[in-house]
């Protein structure tokens, strides 16, 4: 919501200054029309106090509601209404307070149309200023919102790129290649080619294009081959997919974080050989993939919910299917299992 202009001290000072000048002018005019100056000042103070209150009221009111359509009509009605009420109150109140001059009541009645005009214009002027002020505030806010949204989008994009490239994996792999060049150039060459295929596959994947399980598993195999070169004898993998699941489709790069997580968890939590098991089964209109890794129940920090690294997958599944039950994890017998279910949309 926009800030009221009266929230700023500067504007309160302007408003008060303007009001004083206006009240002074008002009493000067009355004095000119041969009223005593006490009467002139009293009249001016009361009329302008009420007018000021009306201005403040309409300005605050506009802070909460400004119509989108028929604005002129809306504002016009408010101005008429307020100046009418203001005039009625004046007509009743002023003679009660000012009793000194007998001719005053007559003068008041004669001056009512002029007063009405001035009140209407003053309130109208306040409405205009307020509307200008609030639209400017709205615009500023929407610009800010837009800038924020763009910044967020940029950050998300950068984060995605960073994720896709997986610098840690990439640099460690390059380091392995560097080591192989000296001792086993043939293997170095093979690893460079695998790495290129993997990176190309990663870059090719688009957010909105689903891929078949076969394609995704092929991509994962490349990744696992590279990891096996890095970790040598410690890492072995088993992929077991029912052949009829092969053509089923899934969102791209959904399995990758699960497997990465399993490798990280498996390799960094134990010191022995690690077998990562990937299984794919198809149930009624559902593709089920499980990823298993061993862990050490003695030292593993029991992970709440779905654990680290998996929250992104969870979120993605929710955005795609509006379901939170598609990613499950459980640990038993020193084996940690992550199970992901992908509904097959037809």
């Amino acid at each position: 919501m926009a800030n009221s202009p009266f929230a700023l001290l500067r504007f309160r000072v302007y408003f008060l200054g303007g009001w004083l000048a206006w009240a002074l002018l008002h009493s000067a005019v009355l004095y000119w029309f041969n009223l005593s100056y006490e009467t002139a000042i009293l009249d001016s103070l009361m009329s302008n106090a009420l007018l000021g209150a009306a201005c403040w009221f309409i300005s605050s009111n506009l802070q909460y509601y400004r119509p989108g359509q028929a604005r002129l009509l809306y504002f016009g009605i408010w101005c008429l209404l307020l100046s009418g009420v203001w005039l009625l109150v004046l007509q009743w109140l002023l003679p009660l307070v000012i009793e000194t001059e007998p001719s005053y009541e007559q003068f008041l009645n004669k001056s009512l149309p002029v007063r009405f005009g001035i009140g209407f214009l003053t309130i109208g002027w306040m409405v205009m200023l307020s509307v200008l002020w609030y639209s400017q505030q709205d615009q500023k806010q929407s610009e800010q919102r837009q800038a924020d949204a763009e910044k967020l989008a940029r950050e998300a994009e950068l984060f995605k790129l960073h994720q896709q490239l997986q610098p840690h994996f990439l640099f460690n792999s390059l380091n392995s290649v560097n080591a192989l060049i000296g001792s086993r150039p043939q293997e170095a060459r093979r690893m460079v080619l695998q790495l290129s295929d993997f990176l190309r596959g990663t870059l090719k994947r688009e957010e909105h294009q689903w891929v078949s399980l076969n394609e995704e598993l092929e991509h994962l195999r490349l990744y696992l081959e590279i990891e096996k070169v890095r970790f040598g004898h410690r890492l072995s993998t088993e992929i077991d997919a029912e052949p009829e699941c092969g053509p089923l489709r899934l969102p791209p790069m959904l399995l990758q974080p699960l497997v990465e997580n399993a490798i990280k968890f498996g390799l960094y939590d134990t010191t022995d050989g690690v077998t990562i098991r990937i299984e794919a089964r198809c149930r009624a209109e559902m593709l089920e993939i499980s990823v298993q890794n061993p862990y050490d129940p003695q030292t593993a920090v029991p992970r709440q919910g779905t654990g680290f690294g998996l929250s992104g997958v969870q979120r993605r599944l929710y955005l795609l299917f509006a379901r939170t039950d598609l990613l499950q994890t459980h640990a038993d017998n020193a084996i940690y299992t992550t199970l992901v279910k992908i509904p097959q949309l037809l």
């Binding site: 610098p167 840690h168 640099f171 460690n172 390059l174 380091n175 392995s176 290649v177 560097n178 080591a179 192989l180 000296g182 001792s183 070169v229 890095r230 970790f231 040598g232 410690r234 390799l267 960094y268 939590d269 134990t270 010191t271 003695q298 030292t299 593993a300 920090v301 029991p302």
Partner: protein, 246 residues
């Protein structure tokens, strides 16, 4: 001159081994796959220099260094992003960002050779450990040594910490363990959402509190799930109230 290579990737070690051929007077006395092996080897051989990876099984490079009474000179070999390494840039002899060249490697070793003053080196390594706690990776566990055994205390098992001279006593359901660190170290390294320093000498895990009772004038005592009582100072109580939203 003795050195030990500690890295969980065999190829990464073989690269360092290859590069080290340019320095025939430096002998590799052992190669280790993880921090446990590293710890044992360093204690046994007392090397002059170690090449250490950061991300390793069980305990990482920093945790391993923490457990050494007399850490040797260290050259880190890591694929960590540069920003992460900034934190300890000033103190390690050098760090080699994987992949690195023979020239870059030589520079690091020469730098070490030029730093003759060993006392200076050890001071550097210790300063490094202090700053390592401010690295972006927060700790979710504490690694302690009991005799020759290493124990990893995961975050949920940490009940509270008590300062005791130059040591911190880490209280767990299985008893208390000593760690030569300061309170402010743990204030930096443990998750501030879960751990709060409630007293000059005490820090506790918020989730372990069952109730807080007044205790003498101006102070309180927090009673944990296992019945332990932890003193809470006046400012600690104010912090607790804020965190618990009282």
């Amino acid at each position: 001159m003795k050195t030990i290579l500690i890295d969980d990737e065999p190829l990464a070690r073989s690269l360092v081994r290859e590069y080290l051929e340019a320095f025939p007077h430096i002998q590799i006395v052992e190669e280790c796959n993880d921090g446990f092996e590293g710890l044992k080897a360093v204690t046994q051989h007392q090397p002059d220099l170690i090449f250490l990876d950061v991300q390793m099984p069980k305990i990482n490079g920093f945790e391993m260094l923490e457990l050494l009474d007399q850490p040797p000179a260290v050259i880190f070999t890591t694929a960590f992003d540069e920003f992460a390494i900034k934190a300890f840039e000033a103190h390690a002899i050098d760090y080699l960002l994987k992949p690195f060249s023979q020239e870059r490697f030589n520079k690091a070793v020469e730098k070490w050779q030029q730093q003759k003053d060993q006392a200076e080196l050890i001071k550097n390594t210790q300063a490094l450990l202090q700053t390592a706690s401010t690295a972006p990776d927060r700790q979710d566990r504490i690694v302690v040594k009991i005799g020759t055994k290493i124990r990893i205390i995961p975050e949920p098992d940490i009940l509270f910490l008590e300062a005791d001279d130059d040591y911190i006593k880490v209280y767990t359901p299985d008893g208390a363990f000593l760690k030569s660190k300061t309170m402010s170290y743990f204030e930096n390294s443990l998750d501030p959402k879960k751990f709060i320093r409630v007293h000059r000498s005490y820090m506790l895990q918020i989730g372990q509190i069952t109730r807080i009772e007044p205790y003498e004038k101006d102070s309180h005592v927090a009673i944990l799930k296992n019945g332990a009582k932890v003193p809470v100072s006046r400012s600690g109580y104010a912090k607790l109230k804020q965190v618990l939203g009282l």
